[in-house]
């Protein structure tokens, strides 16, 4: 086995989540040999990866949401890796944004960070449980959730 390119492309968590969910459906239909010993590894990794991803923001995303997010993010001049991290993690606080954006103190003003938080909260669906339970604090209110 030869590796031609160890880094051909970056995948968002949503893409992997979708791929695994579709594969799971396909394998459910085909029935017969998915439990044979050779298939165990695939079963295990699919199960665990889906379990992990289903608890992250990507489980509430769709191709349209991802496309719209990337479009909205264009003016902010972030690198691809930074945009992907925001997409995958859906940061809700300034501290989180600063972790994901390199040299954020120099590149983003406080207002821009606040703006990013709003954009992310608006463009990417959040965890419905978390949002119902959370006490109304200023960030949540400004995020302008349309109920």
């Amino acid at each position: 086995m030869e590796v031609k390119n160890a880094n051909a492309a970056m995948l968002s968590n949503y893409e992997v989540f979708k791929l695994l969910t579709d594969l799971k459906e396909k394998r459910k239909d085909s029935g017969k040999n998915k439990n044979s010993s050779g298939q165990q590894n695939l079963n295990t990794i699919m199960y665990e990866t889906l379990k992990h991803l289903s608890k992250t923001p990507c489980s509430r995303q769709s191709p349209e949401i991802v496309k719209e997010f990337l479009t909205i993010m264009m003016p902010h001049k972030l690198t691809k890796a930074e945009k992907l991290q925001l997409l995958n993690q859906r940061p809700q606080t300034a501290v989180e944004i600063q972790l994901m954006v390199e040299e954020s103190e120099e590149r983003l003003s406080e207002e821009q960070i606040e703006d990013l938080i709003q954009t992310v909260a608006g463009a990417l669906p959040g965890d419905p449980e978390q949002e119902n339970a959370a006490p109304a604090d200023t960030e949540m209110e400004e995020a302008g959730e349309h109920s």
Partner: protein, 218 residues
């Protein structure tokens, strides 16, 4: 990114009893059987096949009824980049540091020097804690098992765990007079080394916003 696409080429062997299947499906199955949930040295943890980009001609060689097809494909691989922010769960703590898991990937370590300082290891409870200073004095924040933890990737370690050959030939057996040569003693067993994981991530939580999610959520 946490997941990357890796282009690979390999020759896939399809045994005759699978000839009735669609070639693409039989090949996809073989590739997943070979790579899923396995670490490829210097590449990462393989998750599943993304797609097949090219199938060359299939050949049958003398002596083997199976077909051999050279396949160009792309595989989804877990390989976070340096400095990436990830969220996992604390598996357990030891002198080595805090061991974190993501469910599908287990070998993540936050060494003591990369914990929020000052940090202390509680021997009795086998847990690391952050001696967080407030005006009221030190407030111990425990890093308990099962807690969700946000960390930054600072390093990766790949270990080649391919089988090695038998150890080099050993001492001569002194020939006993009048006895037929006894066979030489078998080479000494490899000393029982701790099995090293093929792929380990090293992380840090020594920054604002990193560490247990509960520390930063209001």
């Amino acid at each position: 990114m946490m997941f990357v696409l890796v282009e690979m080429v390999d020759t896939v062997r399809i045994p005759p009893w699978n000839f009735q299947r669609q070639l693409n499906e039989a090949i996809a199955e073989e590739l997943n059987k070979k790579l899923a949930n396995k670490v490829v040295y210097n590449v990462g943890l393989c998750i599943c096949l993304y797609d097949i980009t090219k199938l060359e001609d299939s050949y049958i060689f003398p002596g083997d009824g199976a077909s051999h097809t050279k396949v160009h494909y792309r595989y989804v691989v877990f390989h976070p980049f340096l400095d990436e922010i990830l969220v996992g769960k604390i598996k357990y703590c030891s002198q080595e540091g805090v061991h974190v898991t993501m469910g599908f990937f287990d070998d993540i370590l936050i060494p003591p020097e990369s914990l929020q300082q000052p940090a202390k290891f509680d021997e009795a409870e086998q847990v690391w804690l952050w001696e967080y200073e407030t005006e009221e004095g030190a407030h111990d924040l425990y890093m308990d098992q099962g807690e969700e933890i946000r960390f930054r990737v600072t390093d990766e370690v790949f270990v080649d765990t391919s089988p090695t050959g038998p150890s080099a030939a050993v001492t001569d057996t002194p020939a006993q007079p009048g006895q037929s040569n006894a066979p030489p003693p078998p080479p000494p067993e490899e000393s029982a080394e701790k099995k090293e994981p093929p792929y380990t991530l090293i992380g840090t939580i020594c920054e604002p916003g990193l560490g247990l999610l509960s520390w930063w959520n209001n």
